[in-house]
């Protein structure tokens, strides 16, 4: 089954380097444009999820058989940090809503409520490849006919202070950081040729499997671009010489999803291949066409 990318939308913000920036943008004024009701006491992770999903589903309406899939590298990290500080430094029991918001699927609750969704509502993660994990789930459900459409989002927030956030990300305080909420609406491709499709999303066991995966393609490499962060020399050698997508993104766990959104809404290339190396495994995606 061909999977059509029917729509895409996002919220993204460059934050600059941790040693130069000490606050993040207040998102509350932006929420009114995408929310049917005023949600009180929601955390930043949920705010990002509402913004990104709202920008993807522009009229705010989806069929009842739409599955919701949210992923993230760090989840609701700022809230979890606050809870640990409250307990271990202030010696206070966390407040009920603060505790509930440490559960990353709280964001899914609010997105479902905002869009009127009642079908499956999954939160799934994978260390280096959160988007790939969510897409593997969504495409399984689409192929089986369990859902008619899939709304897939990857959300990662920056937590304050940013120098601590940089440490969790394993980067220096001088590295530009970012946060983002990137969303795709997927559905089975109909009889007409869709403008953009998700052609593949796979997890490959090793470099040999990565080479074999690349060998399946015989289209002109001129039309193809790729995006990869920090792949090792053996993996780079396994990949054909493709033009690299210059996504101009700061560092955050959902970076690959940001690159996908930039490709889909851009003008460069006719295919995008992404490669994420993770503990000797490779998570790959292939998008064909653009929105």
């Amino acid at each position: 089954m061909r999977i059509e990318v029917a729509a895409a939308g996002e919220y993204y913000a460059d934050l600059g380097a941790a040693d130069q920036l000490h606050e993040v943008k207040d998102l509350r004024p932006l929420l009114a444009a995408v929310c049917r009701e005023r949600f009180r006491r929601i955390d930043r992770f949920t705010q990002l999820a509402l913004l990104g999903s709202g920008h993807c589903v522009r009229d705010g309406r989806l069929p009842a058989d739409t599955g919701l899939y949210i992923s993230s590298g760090f989840g609701s990290i700022a809230n979890t940090v606050n809870v640990q500080r409250q307990m271990f430094i202030d010696r206070r029991v966390p407040k009920p809503l603060t505790f509930i918001n440490t559960l990353s699927n709280s964001a899914g609750y609010y997105v479902a409520r905002n869009l009127g969704l009642t079908a499956r509502n999954q939160f799934v993660s994978r260390d280096a490849a959160p988007l790939e994990a969510a897409l593997q789930l969504a495409t399984l459900d689409l192929v089986r006919g369990d859902i008619g459409q899939a709304l897939v989002g990857v959300v990662d927030e920056a937590s304050l202070p940013l120098d601590e956030h940089a440490r969790r990300l394993g980067v220096g305080a001088d590295v530009p950081l970012a946060e983002g909420s990137h969303w795709l609406l997927l559905r089975p491709a109909g009889a007409s040729v869709p403008s953009a499709t998700l052609a593949a999303v796979d997890t490959l066991a090793d470099v040999a499997a990565l080479s074999a995966w690349f060998a399946r393609f015989d289209a002109s490499p001129d039309a193809r671009i790729w995006f990869a962060d920090d792949v090792s020399p053996p993996a780079r050698a396994a990949c054909p010489m493709l033009e690299r997508l210059e996504a101009a993104l700061g560092v955050y766990r959902s970076r690959t999803a940001g690159a996908v959104l930039r490709y889909l809404s851009g003008t460069t290339g006719e295919e995008l291949i992404t490669v994420v190396e993770d503990d000797g495994r490779y998570h790959v995606m292939r998008f064909v066409g653009r929105l």
């Binding site: 271990f88 029991v93 699927n105 609750y109 479902a112 509502n121 799934v124 399984l140």
Partner: protein, 392 residues
């Protein structure tokens, strides 16, 4: 999940590490005994220390409580399941792993942060182990499980969702085997959070009982191996299931039971069976006043004639995101033994609920069994198991 499809997901390996022990037979014997020995844990980090009832993992090797030992409990459950399923080391490399947990490694993060603060580290970092991948990485490095990993975090339905997706992947031919793991390890965030929400019982759990006043948290690790099998072999199969979203409230199901009923009906449809085919139900049964209200209302809407039903959390504690795997493993182990386990803690019928769980073990034969799981964030899941007698 389509009834009668040729590829079915058979449950062929189980592992359990809970407050009842670290071997499957110990766990089965413990759940048949009924009421557990609740422990008291004092949360003395707060200005006003709090005592809470608790059911920690009981390990026969007296393992400690920090990272290596606690992840070792996960490893033990996984090794038991893989061993029973006959999964060779070479097959592990490509086997997908579906993990469900509410808290993943948050306890280890807390310990590192607390140690750094105690040592006077001016740069002590809260949540140093960010993300969800620690358990998965442990299984990859220490147990050779290097296939695609899916880390579910949908509160108390986490590993139930993991089980449903793994079964779907097998039925769809995406894999021939899959490992499902539920993990809930002790941590202060969860204990204090539930305490702050006033959801914890004073002493013990009394599911669906008139005197119910809350839940007891438990540690637990459950592992389940699924394999593709044809429809004509005997065994225990995932016959169907459903996962749905209830947007009534972030912390409770709609008390009218409508969304719970909807997910149960969807599960029946997915298994291709009518309501009267259900031989028994494993209820979620948190013994919290509102959740038992909603669950009882949902069951009564679906079942005009209520089949026998049991609740297991009063025996092992609420293992939160792990309960999909732990409680499924308990039910499968019991079904293999031809019994339905008893419900501990129930004594007084509540006529407002209108339901009465089984308090004694009873024979269980071939047929369909419904397992229900509900969680924060409006996440509801219902799993249908089918036991088919082996030809021998």
């Amino acid at each position: 999940m389509m009834a009668g499809s040729e590829r079915r997901a058979e449950i062929c390996g189980l592992g359990l590490v809970t407050s009842l022990g670290d071997r499957l037979d110990d766990n089965l014997a413990g759940i048949m005994r009924g009421a557990p020995a609740y422990r008291c844990r004092t949360l003395d980090i707060f200005d006003e220390p709090i005592d809470v009832p608790y059911l920690p993992i009981r390990r026969s090797d007296a393992a400690g409580a920090r990272e290596d030992a606690t992840f070792a409990s996960v490893g033990l459950a996984v090794e038991h399941a893989l061993s029973e399923a006959g999964v060779e080391a070479a097959d592990r490399r490509s086997m997908p792993v579906y993990i469900g947990s509410s808290s993943y490694a948050i306890g280890q993060s807390e310990a590192l942060f607390a140690d750094a603060l105690a040592a006077g580290d001016a740069d002590a970092l809260a949540v140093p182990l960010a993300g969800f991948g620690q358990v998965s990485r442990y299984l990859r490095h220490e147990h050779g499980l290097a296939g695609a990993d899916f880390l579910f975090n949908t509160a108390c339905t986490s590993s139930a969702n993991a089980l449903l997706v793994a079964a779907a992947a097998i039925e769809a031919g995406r894999c021939d085997r899959a490992l499902v793991v539920g993990v809930e390890l002790g941590n202060l965030t969860t204990l204090a959070g539930f305490c702050g929400m006033q959801l914890l019982a004073d002493d013990c759990m009394r599911p669906f009982d008139r005197r119910r006043n809350g839940l007891v948290l438990g540690e637990g690790c459950g592992a389940i191996v699924l394999r593709a099998a044809s429809a004509d072999v005997g065994g225990v199969f995932v016959a169907g299931g459903a996962s749905g979203c209830d947007t009534f409230s972030i912390s409770t199901s709609n008390p009218d039971g409508s969304r719970i009923a909807a997910v149960m009906r969807e599960a029946l449809t997915s298994a291709g069976i009518e309501v009267d085919a259900i031989a028994a139900i494993k209820a979620h049964g948190t013994a919290s006043p509102m959740n038992d209200d909603a669950e009882a209302a949902g069951m009564r809407q679906v079942f005009a004639d209520m089949p026998p039903f049991v609740a297991l959390k009063s025996s092992i504690g609420h293992t939160l995101g792990a309960c999909g795997a732990t409680e499924t493993a308990f039910i499968v182990a019991a079904l293999r033994a031809g019994v339905l386990p008893p419900t501990a803690g129930f004594a007084e019928y509540d006529d407002r609920l209108g339901v009465r769980p089984q308090v004694s073990a009873r024979p269980a034969g071939a047929g369909y069994y419904m397992l229900n799981f509900f969680g924060f964030g409006g996440n509801n899941a219902s799993v249908i198991l089918e036991t088919v007698r082996r030809a021998d």
